[in-house]
Subunit: 314 residues, 4 copies
């Protein structure tokens, strides 16, 4: 059924038509492919907490450069920094404040640094799927995407000792095939889309998928502000104090609303001496509120689902 939906979307695409010429059926099908359904916002959080804080780290390491062809030794060294300096520094901050987090690790990054997934899990954190080599899913045929995701899950399980239950697509590049693959894999959650600030159930072609979205946003992503690319025009133009101010406002307003504060960071981005304080200061700020629940992405989703089943939501 799923493939037929995708085929029917494609079938109404006349390649020679411009978007303003599309028949209504076509743009409605494009929009309906994957959609935010039932909100999964619990009215209470565990322990009577007022809001939840879900920190995540995309440990891409060398795969960002490998995905682009692997020719730059400088960028490969930058990737090694993520594992050699960034991850240990992050783990130390989390340990100091006794805070759990979720690490999304591409399979190839895990194979290059095979001790990292286990070290992360042993420290009490979650490891989840982040693709094979940080590939862009929307550039892949569906069966290739499926094969890479299945192998990624197996690799993460083998190296971390736990079967992963969530997926963040690399670069948040969610293809028309991704959701069906996640359903087939029996994943609990995805964390790549941004239709809300609270968890919600994903709809596939209008029907419930059973997969929960724990939404991300560029506004809560360190790379949006800090990434540097020598041969593009990307530069770290935002002062670190500006980034902290944004993250803090997101956190404070989530607390006001009794909702979820989710944050995406990268070891090779936040790990620098002039930036790591942002993470530590945010944690201190949240801890000082006394009624904040720090949780892995998996824990947040399980709580949201369980509570919704009791009649919560909306």
């Amino acid at each position: 059924m799923i493939l037929s939906i995708k085929e029917s979307v494609m079938s109404v695409t006349a390649p020679s038509l411009e978007p303003w010429q599309w028949p209504e059926e076509h743009w409605r099908q494009l929009v309906a492919q994957v959609r935010a359904g039932r909100p999964l916002r619990p009215s209470v959080w565990p322990g009577g907490a007022r809001c939840a804080v879900a920190l995540s780290f995309d440990a891409d390491h060398e795969t960002n450069e490998l995905r682009d062809g692997g020719k730059s030794i400088g960028r490969l060294a930058w990737g090694q920094y993520g594992s050699r300096v960034g991850v240990p520094r992050i783990l130390e901050v989390l340990r100091r404040h006794n805070v759990p987090a979720t690490f999304f690790i591409p399979a190839v990054a895990a194979l290059i640094h095979p001790d990292e997934p286990r070290r992360v899990v042993d420290a009490g954190h979650e490891v989840a799927i982040h693709g094979w080599i940080h590939e862009l899913n929307s550039a892949l045929p569906g069966p290739v995407e499926r094969d890479l995701l299945l192998r990624s899950a197996d690799t993460i399980e083998r190296l971390s000792g736990r079967r992963p239950v969530g997926l963040r697509t690399p670069s948040w590049d969610f293809s028309p095939d991704t959701l069906a693959i996640e359903m087939e894999m029996g994943l609990l959650y995805d964390s790549s889309l941004m239709a809300d600030e609270d968890c919600y159930e994903l709809l596939l072609a209008g029907g419930p998928s059973g997969v929960v979205e724990l939404p991300v946003e560029w506004v809560r992503d360190d790379a949006a502000y800090f990434i540097m690319h020598r041969f593009q025009s990307l530069r770290p133009y935002m002062p670190p104090t500006g980034v902290f101010d944004i993250f803090r406002r997101e956190l404070d307003a989530a607390w006001e609303a009794g909702g979820l504060f989710q944050l995406t960071m990268h070891p090779h981005v936040i790990g620098y001496r002039s930036r790591i304080w942002i993470l530590e200061e945010l944690i201190r700020h949240a801890v000082a509120k006394t009624d904040v629940w720090f949780a892995t992405h998996e824990q947040v989703v399980r709580h949201a689902v369980a509570h919704a089943a009791e009649g919560g939501g909306a």
Copy 2:
């Protein structure tokens, strides 16, 4: 007559000429196509207010991505955020402070979210035209632009319950045909150009058009500072406090001058928890002056025109 003007502009264009080779007649005709005419700055505002504040929201939602081909599920989810989270959050801020605003909604966005236009109007706001699918007018043949704008007006009327009287061209992309179409449609105003900070009458090929421009500017547009595009170099590099400072300075100086403060925002841009405070703080700042008139774009234009007829202007 209108088409002949456009044809005559084109006729003096020798495609093989570079701009520095153009005959004077050619660049004079290019400049004269659409021009700022009679200023429409009232010397007084209703209720003895010292300045007018015209807030607007371009509710593009999924159409930004559809206009580009509709292939990114991530960007479609981002569009859904605008309607699911952004618009309700904005409406709540406006309600709390009892402030009217104008929402420019592409027809396709309105069709995807058919209850939104009515909800906006029922809350006391104006809904106006913002194209069909956020198309770029300058890439369209004139008759196609005309057809899309006529259908857009009908769609907005049907879904909002009121015939729209104003148009903001998507991306402020005003084509050589736009003004003639606006005249034919009998529109009261356009809000896409930027030759002044006060309202003015648009001239078509040197003659009065009867259409009023309520001018916009990138300096007063949230997207200029905050937009993110994964595959371009656009990043939200400006700290929110910097954006607030700019908007506040524009407002304060409009108040000093006794003029108009117009602002363009987007539900999928300003709606985030770390940014929505900019809108609320601006409103508080204006309200504290006690002599500010908040109005829809239509109200501002009607007042400016009525007053100019009494001998105001300049």
Copy 3:
């Protein structure tokens, strides 16, 4: 002689050679085409002032868009803003503080707004050359560049009532032919290059040209921080307070050094209500020092040359 130098530079260029393969003679000739010579830094400024402040405004108006083909009505309206709002607002600030400045006006901009050059001169300011239609000189054959510059000088003289004595190349795009043309035109100064912070004599192929450079820099250009281009990645990402801070530091350090503070602004950039305060606050800051000489570019250059002749410099 001049053309033969240019020819000789070109003659050693083997088009198939990469820069790292160039013979030394070739890169030496490239570097030697136009060079900073004798420094022209006076040890004293008129009236015993400690430093000189040379404010300039490039009144490009519609020519930025015309130079690119003139297709965007929105950008033409933006250009009109420069003349309709920007220039009057700037003139008012300068008048209020009784400060002279230099306006560089492309000939086509002057022809579109024929009263502007005279109004500027009547207010006590200098008008100088800024090309024909804001063309890029380095894209033009030498004779075309020469023809446009000669016609530009005549146009400015006719509309301002004074023969211009200085040239700022549009976009500071100084071609291998520019200096020879400036010499032929008998110009006093150029203001497009950036090899120093004080005035200096330009060398043509190693020999004195008699033309003085009053140097510019992107660091002292409002457009570098504020320009917006819808279809490029240029956005006004720098907060106005940041721009003021940079300009103030340049001014303070020029005062410390007893040198020259030169600034480039644009009516369609600095003229906005949220930015014009930068100009006014800078002037106030300089005035408060009590020993600052505000002067046109021409006045600065004449003083620098006269003083150097007395044995100053270095």
Copy 4:
């Protein structure tokens, strides 16, 4: 042996394969080409200092423009600024605070300004290699890169009076051939890679190279924040106060950790009046700590190596 490694990497590359199709052997070999090995972090610094400060200046001058074809006279003038204003201003700041630094100078820049290397050395600083004409190594055949580096070393030795012992590749563009060439040249250190914040030994295809890496990072590079390129989208969007804040945080945290603070600057970037205070204020800040060791890159590396030999490291 070295070439055979490179050949074997290439041999497993099937050009028709996409990265996600690569056999594991291929991406493992890509990653293993050049790798961070043994950490060289001394537990003590000379004189009981708590941290080391290694300031460096890449004196590219005209070579940035020559490398790109040398057509822009404006950018060549900008390059001259680096030597005419930037270097003397930097030397004066270093002299005032009696602080040593390392200058990386492309051979062609040294040939254009032949007195500069000696002047730098005479003031107590180190001069090291920075390529021939700021070429991009990864675009060159190995023998060409080797020839240019050998000639660069000879040129620097002749003009500075000292044989250089370190190399910073232009634009930090480290090719698959660079390390083998550095080994052949007997260089003490490289300063182009970024796998750590402390010194480390470089591994070539898994084996010790004997060459020490003194790592750089864009986060500690003035050009990342300040560079301007008229025809790209690069603008100096970061306020100088923001850049100072980042550098100070890097320095303070290096001091906390007892490690190394390395900084890359450029005379044509940091030399401006509104930026040079960043360097001076940083030096004052470090001096005020009383237990900071300022050293050239060579001195830092020699100390790190000597100490590691005594059993330090890790």
